[in-house]
Protein backbone atom coordinates (compact mmCIF):
# COMPACT_ATOMS: atom_id res chain seq x y z
CA UNK A 1 0.00 0.00 0.00
CA UNK A 2 1.49 3.31 -1.04
CA UNK A 3 0.60 6.96 -1.45
CA UNK A 4 -2.31 8.69 0.21
CA UNK A 5 -4.08 5.41 0.90
CA UNK A 6 -1.36 4.54 3.41
CA UNK A 7 -2.45 7.60 5.41
CA UNK A 8 -6.12 6.72 5.28
CA UNK A 9 -7.12 6.73 8.95
CA UNK A 10 -10.03 4.42 8.29
CA UNK A 11 -7.84 1.87 6.54
CA UNK A 12 -5.33 1.92 9.38
CA UNK A 13 -8.05 1.46 11.99
CA UNK A 14 -9.70 -1.30 9.99
CA UNK A 15 -6.42 -3.20 9.66
CA UNK A 16 -6.03 -3.00 13.44
CA UNK A 17 -9.59 -4.29 13.85
CA UNK A 18 -8.63 -7.14 11.55
CA UNK A 19 -5.79 -8.01 13.93
CA UNK A 20 -8.30 -8.25 16.77
CA UNK A 21 -7.84 -4.79 18.29
CA UNK A 22 -11.28 -3.94 19.74
CA UNK A 23 -10.15 -0.46 20.79
CA UNK A 24 -9.54 0.28 17.10
CA UNK A 25 -13.11 -0.72 16.32
CA UNK A 26 -14.41 1.60 19.03
CA UNK A 27 -12.30 4.39 17.55
CA UNK A 28 -13.51 3.60 14.06
CA UNK A 29 -17.16 3.87 15.11
CA UNK A 30 -16.37 7.07 16.96
CA UNK A 31 -14.74 8.66 13.90
CA UNK A 32 -17.40 7.73 11.34
CA UNK A 33 -20.61 7.54 13.40
CA UNK A 34 -21.93 11.01 12.53
CA UNK A 35 -21.25 10.63 8.81
CA UNK A 36 -23.05 7.31 8.66
CA UNK A 37 -26.02 8.40 10.79
CA UNK A 38 -26.34 11.61 8.79
CA UNK A 39 -26.16 9.84 5.44
CA UNK A 40 -28.67 7.15 6.37
CA UNK A 41 -31.01 9.76 7.86
CA UNK A 42 -31.01 11.67 4.60
CA UNK A 43 -31.70 8.54 2.62
CA UNK A 44 -34.40 6.88 4.73
CA UNK A 45 -35.91 10.00 6.30
CA UNK A 46 -36.61 8.22 9.56
CA UNK A 47 -34.42 9.03 12.53
CA UNK A 48 -35.10 5.84 14.51
CA UNK A 49 -34.64 3.59 11.49
CA UNK A 50 -31.52 5.53 10.52
CA UNK A 51 -29.86 4.92 13.88
CA UNK A 52 -30.68 1.24 13.73
CA UNK A 53 -29.35 0.96 10.18
CA UNK A 54 -26.21 2.90 11.09
CA UNK A 55 -25.53 0.40 13.88
CA UNK A 56 -26.09 -2.39 11.39
CA UNK A 57 -23.53 -0.82 9.04
CA UNK A 58 -20.84 -0.94 11.71
CA UNK A 59 -21.77 -4.48 12.69
CA UNK A 60 -21.43 -5.54 9.06
CA UNK A 61 -18.01 -3.94 8.96
CA UNK A 62 -16.99 -5.77 12.10
CA UNK A 63 -18.22 -9.09 10.75
CA UNK A 64 -16.39 -8.50 7.46
CA UNK A 65 -13.08 -7.65 9.17
CA UNK A 66 -11.37 -10.90 8.22
CA UNK A 67 -12.25 -10.49 4.54
CA UNK A 68 -11.32 -6.80 4.44
CA UNK A 69 -8.72 -5.76 1.85
CA UNK A 70 -7.68 -2.10 1.65
CA UNK A 71 -8.25 -1.78 -2.09
CA UNK A 72 -9.86 1.65 -1.92
CA UNK A 73 -10.44 4.48 0.50
CA UNK A 74 -12.04 3.25 3.69
CA UNK A 75 -14.81 5.84 3.43
CA UNK A 76 -15.73 4.60 -0.05
CA UNK A 77 -16.12 1.06 1.27
CA UNK A 78 -18.02 2.31 4.32
CA UNK A 79 -20.41 4.40 2.21
CA UNK A 80 -21.01 1.52 -0.14
CA UNK A 81 -22.15 -0.64 2.78
CA UNK A 82 -24.19 2.28 4.11
CA UNK A 83 -25.85 2.83 0.73
CA UNK A 84 -26.71 -0.86 0.35
CA UNK A 85 -28.17 -1.01 3.86
CA UNK A 86 -30.29 2.08 3.24
CA UNK A 87 -31.35 0.86 -0.19
CA UNK A 88 -32.50 -2.49 1.21
CA UNK A 89 -34.44 -0.74 3.97
CA UNK A 90 -36.09 1.64 1.50
CA UNK A 91 -37.04 -1.18 -0.86
CA UNK A 92 -38.47 -3.21 2.04
CA UNK A 93 -40.44 -0.19 3.20
CA UNK A 94 -41.68 0.56 -0.32
CA UNK A 95 -42.90 -3.00 -0.72
CA UNK A 96 -44.99 -2.68 2.40
CA UNK A 97 -46.36 0.74 1.52
CA UNK A 98 -49.51 0.92 -0.51
CA UNK A 99 -49.68 4.18 -2.39
CA UNK A 100 -53.07 5.60 -3.12
CA UNK A 101 -53.55 6.21 -6.81
CA UNK A 102 -54.92 9.63 -5.90
CA UNK A 103 -51.65 10.47 -4.25
CA UNK A 104 -49.74 10.00 -7.50
CA UNK A 105 -48.97 12.73 -9.93
CA UNK A 106 -49.26 12.39 -13.71
CA UNK A 107 -45.72 11.04 -13.90
CA UNK A 108 -46.52 8.34 -11.35
CA UNK A 109 -44.50 10.04 -8.64
CA UNK A 110 -45.84 11.43 -5.40
CA UNK A 111 -46.66 15.08 -5.89
CA UNK A 112 -44.10 17.52 -4.62
CA UNK A 113 -45.21 19.45 -1.60
CA UNK A 114 -43.15 22.43 -2.45
CA UNK A 115 -44.07 25.46 -0.46
CA UNK A 116 -45.27 28.24 -2.67
CA UNK A 117 -42.43 30.55 -3.52
CA UNK A 118 -42.90 34.07 -2.36
CA UNK A 119 -43.78 36.76 -4.79
CA UNK A 120 -40.72 38.51 -6.21
CA UNK A 121 -38.86 40.41 -3.59
CA UNK A 122 -35.36 40.83 -2.26
CA UNK A 123 -33.58 37.50 -2.04
CA UNK A 124 -32.54 38.12 1.53
CA UNK A 125 -36.22 38.35 2.50
CA UNK A 126 -36.92 34.78 1.43
CA UNK A 127 -37.66 32.98 4.63
CA UNK A 128 -34.91 30.50 5.32
CA UNK A 129 -37.48 28.08 6.70
CA UNK A 130 -39.41 28.12 3.43
CA UNK A 131 -36.27 27.55 1.39
CA UNK A 132 -35.22 24.82 3.77
CA UNK A 133 -38.51 22.98 3.28
CA UNK A 134 -38.29 23.42 -0.48
CA UNK A 135 -34.78 21.99 -0.60
CA UNK A 136 -35.72 19.05 1.63
CA UNK A 137 -38.72 18.33 -0.53
CA UNK A 138 -36.66 18.41 -3.72
CA UNK A 139 -34.00 16.11 -2.30
CA UNK A 140 -36.66 13.70 -1.04
CA UNK A 141 -38.13 13.43 -4.50
CA UNK A 142 -34.90 12.54 -6.24
CA UNK A 143 -34.51 8.86 -7.13
CA UNK A 144 -32.44 7.08 -4.51
CA UNK A 145 -29.32 6.74 -6.68
CA UNK A 146 -29.38 10.45 -7.59
CA UNK A 147 -29.98 11.33 -3.94
CA UNK A 148 -26.99 9.25 -2.88
CA UNK A 149 -24.79 10.78 -5.59
CA UNK A 150 -25.83 14.28 -4.48
CA UNK A 151 -25.28 13.35 -0.83
CA UNK A 152 -21.79 12.03 -1.46
CA UNK A 153 -20.77 14.85 -3.79
CA UNK A 154 -22.39 17.81 -2.09
CA UNK A 155 -22.12 16.89 1.57
CA UNK A 156 -19.09 14.58 1.57
CA UNK A 157 -17.08 16.21 -1.22
CA UNK A 158 -16.45 12.91 -2.96
CA UNK A 159 -15.09 12.71 -6.49
CA UNK A 160 -17.06 10.99 -9.25
CA UNK A 161 -14.70 7.98 -9.22
CA UNK A 162 -15.25 7.35 -5.50
CA UNK A 163 -18.99 7.87 -5.80
CA UNK A 164 -19.05 5.31 -8.61
CA UNK A 165 -17.33 2.81 -6.36
CA UNK A 166 -19.60 3.61 -3.42
CA UNK A 167 -22.85 3.11 -5.31
CA UNK A 168 -21.58 0.39 -7.59
CA UNK A 169 -21.74 1.97 -11.03
CA UNK A 170 -19.44 3.53 -13.62
CA UNK A 171 -17.96 7.00 -13.46
CA UNK A 172 -19.92 7.84 -16.59
CA UNK A 173 -23.12 6.81 -14.85
CA UNK A 174 -22.29 9.10 -11.92
CA UNK A 175 -21.72 11.96 -14.35
CA UNK A 176 -25.15 11.32 -15.82
CA UNK A 177 -26.81 10.90 -12.40
CA UNK A 178 -25.44 14.20 -11.12
CA UNK A 179 -26.23 16.05 -14.35
CA UNK A 180 -29.87 14.93 -14.16
CA UNK A 181 -30.09 15.60 -10.44
CA UNK A 182 -28.71 19.11 -10.78
CA UNK A 183 -30.96 19.94 -13.73
CA UNK A 184 -33.92 18.75 -11.69
CA UNK A 185 -32.85 20.75 -8.64
CA UNK A 186 -32.30 23.84 -10.77
CA UNK A 187 -35.76 23.60 -12.32
CA UNK A 188 -37.53 23.05 -9.01
CA UNK A 189 -35.66 25.86 -7.30
CA UNK A 190 -36.29 28.21 -10.23
CA UNK A 191 -38.59 30.53 -8.21
CA UNK A 192 -35.87 31.01 -5.63
CA UNK A 193 -33.22 31.41 -8.32
CA UNK A 194 -35.14 34.29 -9.89
CA UNK A 195 -35.36 36.00 -6.55
CA UNK A 196 -31.72 35.37 -5.90
CA UNK A 197 -30.57 36.55 -9.31
CA UNK A 198 -32.70 39.72 -9.45
Amino acid sequence: MTGPRARDEGVELMLRVQRGDMSAFTELVDVYQHNVVSMVSRLVKDRVLAEDLAQEVFLKIFRARERYRPLSKFSTWLYRITYNCALNAIQARDRSTVLSIDALGEDGEAPARLPAARQPGPAEEVASEELHRAVESILDRLPINQRMAVELHKYHGMAYRDIAEAIGCTELAVKSLLARARQSIKQKLAPYLREKVV
Binding site: S38, Y155, I185, V197
Partner: protein
Protein backbone atom coordinates in the same frame (compact mmCIF):
# COMPACT_ATOMS: atom_id res chain seq x y z
CA UNK B 1 -27.29 28.61 -28.09
CA UNK B 2 -25.50 26.99 -31.03
CA UNK B 3 -25.80 23.29 -31.84
CA UNK B 4 -22.21 22.78 -30.72
CA UNK B 5 -22.98 24.40 -27.39
CA UNK B 6 -26.01 22.11 -26.99
CA UNK B 7 -23.54 19.21 -27.02
CA UNK B 8 -21.43 21.02 -24.45
CA UNK B 9 -24.43 21.31 -22.13
CA UNK B 10 -24.21 17.62 -21.27
CA UNK B 11 -20.70 18.18 -19.87
CA UNK B 12 -21.60 21.37 -18.02
CA UNK B 13 -22.25 19.87 -14.58
CA UNK B 14 -19.08 17.77 -14.72
CA UNK B 15 -17.19 20.90 -15.79
CA UNK B 16 -18.57 22.87 -12.84
CA UNK B 17 -17.60 19.98 -10.57
CA UNK B 18 -14.04 20.04 -11.90
CA UNK B 19 -14.46 16.51 -13.26
CA UNK B 20 -13.48 17.11 -16.90
CA UNK B 21 -10.01 15.59 -17.32
CA UNK B 22 -9.76 16.21 -21.07
CA UNK B 23 -7.98 19.55 -21.40
CA UNK B 24 -9.22 20.16 -24.94
CA UNK B 25 -12.84 19.64 -23.89
CA UNK B 26 -12.34 21.87 -20.86
CA UNK B 27 -10.94 24.67 -23.03
CA UNK B 28 -13.84 24.24 -25.44
CA UNK B 29 -16.38 24.60 -22.63
CA UNK B 30 -14.63 27.69 -21.30
CA UNK B 31 -14.75 29.32 -24.75
CA UNK B 32 -18.42 28.42 -25.12
CA UNK B 33 -19.24 29.96 -21.75
CA UNK B 34 -17.54 33.18 -22.77
CA UNK B 35 -19.29 33.39 -26.09
CA UNK B 36 -22.78 32.09 -25.29
CA UNK B 37 -24.77 34.12 -22.72
CA UNK B 38 -27.56 31.52 -22.41
CA UNK B 39 -25.04 28.80 -21.63
CA UNK B 40 -23.33 31.09 -19.13
CA UNK B 41 -26.73 31.78 -17.47
CA UNK B 42 -27.45 28.09 -17.30
CA UNK B 43 -24.07 27.50 -15.63
CA UNK B 44 -24.78 30.25 -13.14
CA UNK B 45 -28.20 28.81 -12.27
CA UNK B 46 -26.72 25.37 -11.79
CA UNK B 47 -24.13 26.82 -9.43
CA UNK B 48 -26.64 28.89 -7.49
CA UNK B 49 -29.15 26.06 -7.07
CA UNK B 50 -26.33 23.81 -5.89
CA UNK B 51 -25.41 26.37 -3.25
CA UNK B 52 -29.04 26.59 -2.16
CA UNK B 53 -28.80 22.94 -1.10
CA UNK B 54 -26.87 24.25 1.89
CA UNK B 55 -30.30 25.20 3.22
CA UNK B 56 -31.11 21.54 3.72
CA UNK B 57 -31.56 20.30 7.27
CA UNK B 58 -28.47 20.37 9.41
CA UNK B 59 -26.67 17.09 9.34
CA UNK B 60 -27.99 14.56 11.82
CA UNK B 61 -25.57 13.51 14.51
CA UNK B 62 -25.33 10.14 16.18
CA UNK B 63 -26.65 10.00 19.76
CA UNK B 64 -24.10 10.17 22.57
CA UNK B 65 -24.32 6.47 23.39
CA UNK B 66 -24.05 5.33 19.79
CA UNK B 67 -20.51 3.95 20.10
CA UNK B 68 -21.26 1.97 23.26
CA UNK B 69 -24.43 0.58 21.68
CA UNK B 70 -22.56 -0.66 18.62
CA UNK B 71 -19.70 -2.14 20.63
CA UNK B 72 -22.26 -3.77 22.94
CA UNK B 73 -24.02 -5.35 19.99
CA UNK B 74 -20.74 -6.79 18.72
CA UNK B 75 -20.53 -8.91 21.85
CA UNK B 76 -24.13 -10.06 21.71
CA UNK B 77 -24.99 -13.20 19.73
CA UNK B 78 -26.49 -12.43 16.37
CA UNK B 79 -30.28 -12.75 16.49
CA UNK B 80 -31.90 -15.26 14.20
CA UNK B 81 -32.31 -13.81 10.77
CA UNK B 82 -35.75 -13.06 9.40
CA UNK B 83 -35.23 -15.91 6.93
CA UNK B 84 -34.56 -18.36 9.73
CA UNK B 85 -37.59 -17.17 11.67
CA UNK B 86 -39.77 -17.43 8.61
CA UNK B 87 -38.65 -21.02 7.80
CA UNK B 88 -38.24 -22.34 11.34
CA UNK B 89 -41.21 -24.73 10.83
CA UNK B 90 -39.42 -26.52 7.96
CA UNK B 91 -37.36 -28.84 10.22
CA UNK B 92 -40.23 -30.40 12.18
CA UNK B 93 -42.38 -30.68 9.05
CA UNK B 94 -39.55 -32.36 7.12
CA UNK B 95 -38.99 -34.79 10.00
CA UNK B 96 -42.72 -35.62 10.08
CA UNK B 97 -42.73 -36.25 6.33
CA UNK B 98 -39.72 -38.59 6.61
CA UNK B 99 -41.38 -40.56 9.41
CA UNK B 100 -44.63 -40.80 7.43
CA UNK B 101 -42.77 -42.04 4.31
CA UNK B 102 -40.86 -44.61 6.36
CA UNK B 103 -44.09 -45.92 7.86
CA UNK B 104 -45.73 -46.08 4.45
CA UNK B 105 -42.77 -48.02 3.01
CA UNK B 106 -42.90 -50.53 5.88
CA UNK B 107 -46.67 -50.99 5.77
CA UNK B 108 -47.55 -54.50 4.46
CA UNK B 109 -49.24 -54.83 1.09
CA UNK B 110 -52.78 -56.10 0.88
CA UNK B 111 -51.52 -59.68 0.34
CA UNK B 112 -49.04 -59.39 3.18
CA UNK B 113 -51.18 -57.66 5.70
CA UNK B 114 -51.49 -59.18 9.15
CA UNK B 115 -54.28 -61.62 9.39
CA UNK B 116 -57.10 -61.00 11.77
CA UNK B 117 -57.88 -63.35 14.62
CA UNK B 118 -61.02 -64.62 12.79
CA UNK B 119 -59.06 -65.36 9.60
CA UNK B 120 -56.46 -67.30 11.58
CA UNK B 121 -59.20 -69.26 13.34
CA UNK B 122 -60.73 -70.18 9.98
CA UNK B 123 -57.36 -71.40 8.70
CA UNK B 124 -56.88 -73.43 11.84
CA UNK B 125 -60.20 -75.17 11.35
CA UNK B 126 -59.23 -76.15 7.81
CA UNK B 127 -55.76 -77.34 8.78
CA UNK B 128 -55.08 -80.82 10.10
CA UNK B 129 -55.47 -81.08 13.83
CA UNK B 130 -52.02 -81.53 15.36
CA UNK B 131 -52.57 -80.35 18.85
CA UNK B 132 -51.42 -83.30 20.67
CA UNK B 133 -47.74 -83.43 21.47
CA UNK B 134 -47.93 -87.13 21.89
CA UNK B 135 -48.88 -87.43 18.25
CA UNK B 136 -45.91 -85.30 17.27
CA UNK B 137 -43.58 -87.33 19.39
CA UNK B 138 -44.82 -90.50 17.78
CA UNK B 139 -43.96 -89.27 14.32
CA UNK B 140 -40.57 -89.73 12.72
CA UNK B 141 -39.53 -86.27 13.64
CA UNK B 142 -37.59 -84.82 10.77
CA UNK B 143 -39.77 -86.13 7.96
CA UNK B 144 -42.88 -85.36 9.89
CA UNK B 145 -41.81 -81.89 10.77
CA UNK B 146 -41.40 -81.20 7.07
CA UNK B 147 -44.82 -82.66 6.53
CA UNK B 148 -46.19 -80.43 9.23
CA UNK B 149 -44.61 -77.37 7.70
CA UNK B 150 -45.93 -78.19 4.21
CA UNK B 151 -49.43 -78.93 5.37
CA UNK B 152 -49.62 -75.93 7.62
CA UNK B 153 -50.61 -77.33 11.00
CA UNK B 154 -51.24 -74.67 13.52
CA UNK B 155 -49.21 -75.22 16.65
CA UNK B 156 -48.36 -72.62 19.18
CA UNK B 157 -44.93 -71.40 20.15
CA UNK B 158 -44.69 -73.53 23.26
CA UNK B 159 -45.37 -76.61 21.22
CA UNK B 160 -42.75 -75.64 18.66
CA UNK B 161 -40.14 -75.19 21.36
CA UNK B 162 -40.97 -78.53 22.82
CA UNK B 163 -40.60 -80.11 19.40
CA UNK B 164 -37.20 -78.54 18.89
CA UNK B 165 -36.04 -79.71 22.29
CA UNK B 166 -37.20 -83.18 21.38
CA UNK B 167 -35.30 -83.08 18.10
CA UNK B 168 -32.14 -81.98 19.80
CA UNK B 169 -32.45 -84.76 22.38
CA UNK B 170 -32.82 -87.33 19.63
CA UNK B 171 -29.79 -86.01 17.76
CA UNK B 172 -27.68 -86.40 20.86
Amino acid sequence: MTRENEDIREHLVAFLDGEIQDEALRAKIERALESDPSLAREAQQLETSWKLLDAASPRERAPKDFVSQVVGRVHRPKPASRWRLRWRWIGPVAAAIVVALAMWAMWPDEGERLKTRDELALEDRNAPEVDDLEVIRSLHLLEDLEWLQENGPRIDLGQRLEMLALLQAQDE
